[in-house]
């Protein structure tokens, strides 16, 4: 091609640029088509659907903002939304802190390191449904693991999942247990990329280990922390498998989350229009998270 373009000077660079553009678009096309068909079109369709109601006879009627008005008056919607915020608040910081701690721990040279890493990572490999079943046994009143341990100290049994005051805490603990190992892997990878020179230099200067961590290691891990945090936020809105096994959102919606409520409305009660309305609300929340990430946090984080 170079010999050809060289043969026709003057026109050549423009053809080249034009071809480059076409080429780029062609390369982007497969991904763009998939994204448009399976992400962007469904989003638009969902929003459109949320402005309609579907009659029993299948006819779709435009109702404007009626579904949204109903949503704002729906007590269960607010309840699952607040639940979801507590769930996010409970799982995100704890699982990140725990992941970092575990990563620092297994990053050292010691005997049985591989075994420890594997042990920490195991919960991640298990399917959520299996995890929920295991923890269901832990939380079973009277003869569950937790109550058996309480029994050793003469404490009375507690209905962990059957009481609105403890059910959310139980879910959070379980999810942290499941997620921390996954995040640990990212921290571990990041830690191994860090140059040991920095730490050695600081040590020579007489810096304490806590100081090294606070002023050197942690700031250098910021990109990983951001990535992990975004993942944790997304997970806190999309992880509902355990509810199906453990509580079905009960008692009285105390453990229900937004996505589970959407599932109930759309598939158990066959009210797809209201399901679409709730989905739009979820979309707004996740878009806000994405905007904060790309618009604000990315600029504050130091990338190497």
């Amino acid at each position: 091609m170079t010999s050809e373009t060289a043969a026709i000077p003057g026109r050549a660079p423009r053809t080249h640029a034009w071809w480059n553009t076409v080429n780029a678009w062609l390369l982007l096309l497969p991904a763009a088509v998939l994204l448009a068909a399976f992400t962007h079109y469904p989003i638009l369709a969902t929003i459109l659907h949320s402005l309609h109601i579907t009659r029993r006879d299948g006819a779709s009627v435009f109702v404007g903002m009626d579904n949204y008005r109903a949503m704002f008056e729906d007590g269960i919607f607010w309840k699952v939304l607040v639940n979801n915020l507590w769930f996010a608040l409970g799982t995100i910081p704890t699982s990140i802190a725990l992941a970092l701690l575990m990563a620092l721990w297994v990053n050292r040279n010691m005997r049985g390191r591989a075994f420890l890493r594997l042990a920490y990572f195991t919960p991640t490999v298990l399917p959520m449904i299996a995890v929920a079943n295991i923890w269901l046994f832990f939380y079973t009143p009277d003869y569950g693991l937790l109550d058996q341990i309480r029994g050793l100290f003469g404490l009375p049994a507690w209905n962990w999942l059957g009481d609105p005051s403890t059910v959310m805490g139980c879910m959070i603990v379980m999810v942290v247990w499941k997620e921390a190992g996954f995040f640990m892997i990212f921290y571990l990878a990041a830690l191994q990329q860090l140059s040991p020179d920095l730490e050695e230099a600081a040590a020579v200067e007489g810096a304490s280990r806590w100081y090294i961590f606070r002023r050197i290691t942690f700031p250098l891990l910021m990109p990983t922390t951001l990535f992990v945090a975004i993942n944790a936020v997304i997970n806190s809105f999309k992880l509902v498998d355990h509810l199906v096994i453990m509580t079905k959102g009960g008692p009285n919606n105390a453990s229900s989350l937004l996505l589970y409520y959407i599932y109930e409305i759309a598939f158990t009660f066959h009210d797809t229009a209201y399901g679409a309305t709730l989905t739009a609300a979820l979309l707004v929340i996740l878009c806000t998270v994405a905007l904060v990430k790309f618009g604000y946090l990315d600029r504050r984080v130091h990338y190497q």
Binding site: L155, G250, N252
Partner: protein, 423 residues
């Protein structure tokens, strides 16, 4: 996306049609739920296999689809996706929703011999007969019964052969049955499940208190009637006032284990669990009708066969043949013995096998005898939603987050709003 789905479906159908067909067997897909313990999927598979041997021209694929709610969800989702099953076992109370969705056909139009429909217990037909038509055929039907641990009764100084006959008696007996080790309760007096099917249990209490929960047209519920509220008050008092039932929710699925482990001396549960309890109990136990307040009573419960509208006439005919086979006296008797569900026809109880079984194990006939006092299960339009409102209200009350009166008032208000469209 709808269009895309349809195109894909058309392509799939075209591909299927292009394949050579094996000796023209009629294919039927059937979804069914399991809500009790024991090897139920195995029992179903075995029955289907035997049906195949006798009817080589019909091929039934029985798909286990979770609990009742899951199965209904799966059937409805499959229908909206354009590939509904031809036959399903769903809650007998889902009938209004299925009619509203135009999913099913009346059975009367499919059978030549209408006498067949008269063979079943009328109490089980009640839920399925609407507007002069029969929309379902009873299959795994039940009533709620009281299971009691005879050994625990003996230990507590009670007559092990006598179950409580009234609400007050149940409280009094429970107080004697509860066993404590310091602050720790090692055995509760009574447990009534509050997850999954709480509306069912509430209905039982309401019936006993002399209150209907819904009207025949399926567009009204009576949750704030004083007697309904009193029923929930009694239920909540069992734990909050008398302290004979655990506080918080009691899980439907694990309650059987509680009973088998001796963690509770009595439980209310479906008779469908009877065989699983019988196989698992390491102690003597009895089964009784639910105790009375104003009267005895239990709602009927469980699943019935439905035939889907989208099935071809051949498939619908094959479906009827399958239902007739499954509910024939011998099979109904076998099903009842293997699970504990009530056999759906009086003729089944006249088979030698079931007669002998009930003679040696009288518990097997209790749920059937209770049919004399039974009332059709709560069934209204938008059933799934109404169940959620009632279940939420019951859970709010037993966990103490709301008073029974408030909780039921909220549920009534939500239910009224949803049911307004059907008046």
């Amino acid at each position: 996306m709808k269009l895309f789905g349809k195109t894909m479906m058309a392509a799939a159908v075209a591909a299927l049609l292009a394949m050579p067909l094996p000796a023209l067997a009629v294919d039927l897909t059937m979804y069914y739920p399991v809500a009790v313990g024991g090897p139920v999927t195995k029992i179903i598979d075995d029955m289907v296999d035997r049906f195949h041997k006798e009817n080589p021209d019909i091929k039934v694929t029985a798909v286990y689809a979770g609990n009742y709610t899951d199965t209904m969800t799966k059937a409805m989702t499959a229908m909206k996706g354009g590939q509904p099953p031809q036959l399903s076992v769903l809650l007998s109370t889902d009938v209004f929703t299925l009619i509203d969705e135009k999913a099913i056909v009346p059975i009367d139009d499919l059978v030549t011999d209408k006498a067949w429909l008269k063979e079943f217990y009328p109490a089980f037909m009640a839920n399925g007969q609407i507007g002069g038509k029969t929309w379902s055929i009873p299959f795994q039907r039940s009533t709620i019964v009281l299971y009691w641990n005879k050994d625990a009764f003996k230990e507590a100084g009670l007559d092990p052969e006598k179950a409580p006959a009234s609400w007050d008696e149940m409280v009094e007996m429970s107080k004697k049955l509860i066993k404590k080790d310091g602050a720790n309760v090692t055995r509760w007096g009574i447990e009534i499940p509050t997850t999954g099917y709480a509306y069912w249990m509430l209905q039982a209490l309401a019936i006993e208190n002399g209150q209907k929960l819904m009207n025949e047209a399926g567009n009204e519920v009576y949750l704030t009637a004083p007697k309904t509220v009193a029923a929930l008050d009694y239920w909540v008092d069992l734990s909050r006032k008398h302290g004979v039932m655990p506080t918080g929710t009691i899980d439907w699925a694990t309650l059987r284990t509680d009973f088998l482990e001796g963690k509770t001396a009595m439980m209310w549960h479906t008779t469908g669990n009877l065989t699983a309890v019988k196989d698992g109990a390491k102690f003597n136990f009895g089964v009784a009708m639910l105790p009375a307040k104003e009267r005895r009573g239990s709602p009927t419960g469980g699943g019935s066969f439905y035939v889907f509208k989208s099935a071809t006439p051949e498939q619908q005919k094959a479906a009827v043949k399958f239902m007739q086979w499954m509910t024939a006296p011998d099979r109904a008797a076998e099903w009842s013995m293997k699970t504990g569900y009530v056999a759906v026809t009086p003729a089944a109880y006249k088979t030698k096998a079931l007669e002998d079984y009930a003679k040696g194990f009288p518990a097997a006939a209790v749920a059937r005898d209770q049919l004399d006092h039974a009332v059709a299960e709560l069934s209204v339009h938008e059933n799934g939603r109404i169940y959620k409102f009632v279940n939420d209200a019951v859970q709010a009350a037993v966990t103490g987050s709301q008073k029974p009166q408030e909780a039921l008032a909220a549920a009534q208000q939500q239910a009224d709003r949803v049911l307004r469209a059907y008046k």
